[in-house]
Amino acid sequence: MRKLLRIARHEYIKVAGKRSFIISTIGFPLFFIAVMAFSIFMAVGSEDSRPLGVVDEAGVLAANVAPTERANGDKLVEVRRFADEAAAQAALRQGDIQAYYLLPAGYLSGDTVRLYYWDKTPATVTQRDFDYYLRANLVASLSAEVRERALAGPVVTARSADGQQEISGDGFLNFLLPFGIGFFFLIAVMSGGGYLLQAVTDEKENRTVEVMTTSVSPNQLIFGKALGLIAVALTQLLILLIVIVVGLAVGARFVDALQELRMPWPLLLIIVAFFLPSYTLIAGMMIAVGAAVTELRQGQQIVGALNMLFTLPYFFVIVFFTAPNSPLATLLTLFPTTAFITITMRWGMSTIPAWQIIASWLILVLSSVGMIWAAARVFRAGMLLYGQRLNFKAMLRAIGARAG
């Protein structure tokens, strides 16, 4: 066990200490934060704080209704009323206001509101502020209760029949996060898997493997390598999750839309629970391929085909949209290589029955442990056939052979 852990630590340091790893792991989230900060800065910085103007030819504005903030305390832009369009235009020319709205005489019978501005349209938030202002005026004559409801607008929460899961109108994180995580997973699969493949073929090519196998058992070597790489992937996942959580928490202080987001903790739990065995499965596959081939190039061709097994759910994304609980979706949920991405994608679109999640996880864990075990056997057989490629039949024979 001690030797296994030493190998794991060695692999971890070997990969995590690489400049390329540090750049991609820290750099990707940093880039993400920089883009977010830049867009927040642009949004906040470009906002024009000058008042808006309004010319009420329709006579729909109530007297003395000029809300300064929303129900949640957000400040609203000031709206100045002008008696006629000429006065509003003069103010616009002077630069006293950034734009003015004209409510035409036929507004109530269908004429649309017109917006006049000098060279730049008011920001979307500013326009929304005017919408709020107008609504507040239109409902001013209603009772306080109705007025509040009408101003708040509809918030729909869809809840599954068994009450396990709910999708609310603002739960776009539920929907977006699975795609982001799925994408990250694929990057991790390709880079981590590619690394393991290279590590195994390199060791075979430079004969390090001879020194290793006269020091440790094939099982210690393979399990140690897999464990080290899983720790690397977990580090990446952890950094990514921390960036998402911290990024959203910090971002929410500046961007109102983010405040309404709630962390989908159950989804995060599912992600962590499925990520580990999925990654182990890939690690096992890569080791088996690396052990069976004589040079990296051969291995890369096989790995290209194996990667398809993991990306398969993306080809059926339409199925998940239209029939998230179809037999095909269930099948992809239970199949070990497609389980992770399928579950994360279905999560945002419907409720996955608990039995499917549990069965899928168990199948995945069993197949990943089995894969690593098989990889150690193939590795041993590949060693015996030094310099020769191990064909598929021989691989199966090695897995089926009795230990020794």
Binding site: I7, R207, E210, M212, L384
Partner: protein, 303 residues
């Protein structure tokens, strides 16, 4: 005395190629045993089977008192023919890692490595990447990795490859020290000179089979008269009964075919008009001569 290593009737084929056929030998505690033969003779395959890297098709290996197991791996030091070190890692951390896989704790490994690195002039290079080291330095690093855990059985495959004369002498000295400390060494090489210098017993492997096995002194005695040294002028090529002629310090050193005596060679030389002999003497057969007599003689007999 029980042998440290006993190899009996080992055979291994790769496809249709018989790499090793019916190889047997024993290695006793405290000796330096030479496994020699031309390139591709099956030495490395034999070593790999001995160390359980390959499984033999037939035959048995017993080492350190039984079959190979995980605990015994800590008592074995192995230097593979091609340098088995990670190219893109730094020297000292790699050596520490390999030492800990042999059961040393990190502190002990570090302390011992400092001494070894200093002795082999690698101390100043300890934080360099292995790929940045010269071939000779990499070989010395590999020697350290083989010995740092103080193994009882040391298996070294072509230990002098890539070394300059100074370092060759240094490694020879280290090998002798290990023997003096009671360790058992198996050395595989195709350089006969080193074997003569270091080994007490040898097995000569050719085309996967053991063709000569025993004490170096005894083998040399058996092959006495199988070499002659001639001083003279003229064409010394193509003399009947001579397998190979080479120049040694201005003399012609000739390895004789099995069954050919020095008298036959002398007569043949005397009969040639293009040769003028100044001195003719029976030389002590070096392992080189014996090697040529056995390997080439067999080929000649088959031809």
């Amino acid at each position: 005395m029980n042998p440290t290593v006993s190899v009996s009737h080992l055979s291994k084929s790769f496809g249709s190629v018989h790499a090793v056929e019916d190889v047997s030998f024993e290695v006793f505690p405290g000796e330096i045993f030479g496994l020699l033969g031309p390139n591709g003779a099956g030495k490395t395959t034999t070593i790999r089977m001995m160390l359980d890297i390959f499984k033999p098709d037939r035959g048995e290996v017993s080492l350190l008192g039984g079959k190979m197991d995980e605990h015994k791996k800590d008592r074995i030091g192995y230097l593979p023919e091609e340098r088995g070190l990670y190219k893109d890692l730094k020297l000292e951390p790699t050596l520490i890692f390999l030492a800990t896989l042999k059961g040393l704790d990190e502190k002990t490994a570090r302390a011992r490595l400092t001494d070894w690195l200093k002795r082999l002039d690698l101390y100043d290079h300890r934080f360099k990447k292995i790929s940045e080291l010269s071939k000779g330095m990499q070989q010395k690093a590999q020697v350290i990795a083989t010995l740092v855990h103080e193994p009882d059985l040391i298996v070294i495959d072509e230990p002098f490859s890539g070394l300059d004369p100074v370092n060759t002498r240094l490694v020879e000295e280290i090998i002798r020290e290990q023997q003096a400390a009671g360790k058992t060494l198996i050395m595989s090489t195709h350089q006969m000179y080193q074997v003569e210098q270091l080994c007490s017993r040898i097995a000569l492997i050719d085309k996967g089979r053991v063709v000569l096995y025993g004490q170096v002194d005894q083998i040399k005695r058996e092959f006495a008269g199988n070499a002659v040294a001639v001083k003279g002028q003229g064409n010394f090529e193509g003399i009947p009964g001579v397998l190979e002629t080479r120049r040694v310090n201005g003399d012609y050193h000739m390895a004789l075919a099995p069954g050919a005596g020095p008298q036959d060679v002398f007569r043949a030389l005397a009969a040639r008009p293009d040769v003028k002999i100044e001195r003719f003497e029976i030389a002590e057969a070096s392992l080189d001569d014996i090697f040529i007599t056995v390997v080439k003689g067999k080929e000649a007999a088959h031809a």
